[in-house]
Symmetry: C2
Subunit: 280 residues, 2 copies
């Protein structure tokens, strides 16, 4: 039986466990700063027992860290301090470079794997977890060469059981791409929400006038502020780059609208519409 | 039998017809600049016959105009010229003020109703039409007092059959609210798409790294460029206002990220997250 300690029992770690609920060869324990989340995770069958962190690490074969990224960066070196040779610590944070940097010269670096599941929802906490979240989803693995290859192989086998396939890249590459493809989406969504809420004080009006388009574009603004403020901070320089690129694009479109260049606006939208060919 | 002429046989008018396909007391005819769309609309059962515009108007009880808004503004005065006292022309455009203005002093103003269905998808054309689009959706009616009350009543009965409920407001109010709640969503989505496509030249990378969050936020960028370039132009001043407000919000968030004000960023996101309470 593989013993898996979930450090943080919210959407990300919780869904990993629920995906394997039918398996008798994997056992899940949990550790969380929130007593409430921990007892909910037990109630929901996400973990069968709860642990203080140190105690849980001693019990586990795999330690999965699924907390906001600032917390990962902070606790990871301490967790790595406690592991035996045959244990693997995996983090599921949405940024990778500062996390990898924090344990770059750690004596137990080979017992750590940096990973990022490309899946999630705008909800958070143990109640948001569900078994299908990772079905056919991409788990990005960074700096694979720094992880003990046998421990890595064991973990990939486990994660395959949750539904994942894998891609591999450097932590810097990961953070650069994700700044544009993921972090910027969240920023534009939160900014849209704040702009509309500033202007429209009456929620009834929004509800009456919002089509499915607004709902879709603003959906990510329902995401966890603790998680996302921390991601923007950890990936600060690249997030700022992506914001600047976005601002330049927005300025260009604004100028064309101002000058009533309808044909040019239409061409601009046609360019953006090419995303159709990529996302079916 | 009520005879309804669809001027433009795409998503908007097409879905109106398909919602009433089972009814034997309503008959739909179509007119469209695109022969291809017109023959598809016949094949799909959206209309039972196709007409040249003038001929169709002579045939119809109701004339529904569901074309891009610049085309509505252009053809509406000409269409109104041709109607009899017992006919009603309805436009389904996403902006209302310039359209209402174009027929403000028209001798047949009472035979016109300005309407906007708060429903749609990112797809367009007759094949995008489907019968459930307007189920329990809001049809905004502007300047109702300028429309003949009996013709209005008849039309509301018809539209109720497509699934609509109704709200009433002035054209200016409509355009102001929609600039923020709808048009700005489309702008932020198109700009996000262009920013990502500029940066990520490799579609495979986008596909591998895009979670459902990116897909949701960028969905509206799949919308029709002809339709949206025309909306931005017709509602130019209010759209520019909404862009400026959005830019100010984005600048604020950017500044906080730059200064590593993580707590402030978190509060900002918490504000945006209040949209949860409005959109369940």
């Amino acid at each position: 039986v593989s013993k898996v300690l979930l450090v943080g029992v919210g959407l990300i770690n919780g869904s990993f466990s629920l995906a394997m609920k039918h398996r008798r060869d994997v056992e899940f324990g949990g550790s969380d700063l929130s007593e409430e989340h921990l007892s909910k995770a037990v109630d929901l069958g996400i973990v069968s027992q709860s642990f203080a962190l140190e105690e849980g690490i001693a019990w586990a074969d795999f330690v999965l860290i699924g907390t906001p990224v600032n917390a990962i960066k902070k606790i990871l070196p301490e967790v790595l301090e406690l592991v035996r040779d045959d244990q693997l610590v995996v983090d599921f944070g949405s940024t990778k470079e500062t996390i990898c940097h924090a344990v770059k010269n750690h004596p137990n670096r080979a017992n750590f794997l940096a990973a990022h599941p490309i899946a999630g929802t705008e909800h958070s906490g143990p109640e948001a977890a569900f078994p299908e979240l990772y079905q056919n989803k991409n788990l990005i693995i960074c700096e694979r060469e720094k992880t003990n290859e046998f421990l890595l192989e064991d973990f990939l086998n486990l994660a395959r059981g949750a539904g994942f396939y894998f891609t591999f890249m450097s932590a810097g590459e990961h953070d650069k791409h994700l700044a544009y493809i993921s972090h910027l989406s969240h920023i534009s969504s939160f900014v849209l929400s704040n702009t509309v809420l500033q202007k429209e004080k009456d929620g009834e009006v929004i509800l009456d006038l919002a089509g499915s388009g607004f709902e879709s574009t603003v959906r990510l603004a329902k995401s966890s502020p603790a998680m996302w403020s921390s991601i923007f901070n950890e990936n600060k320089l690249r997030v700022l780059d992506s914001i600047k690129a976005y601002q330049a694009e927005l300025d260009e479109l604004k100028r064309m609208i101002e000058n009533e260049e309808v044909e040019e606006v239409s061409k601009y939208l046609e360019e953006g519409r090419k995303i159709r060919k990529i996302l079916k």
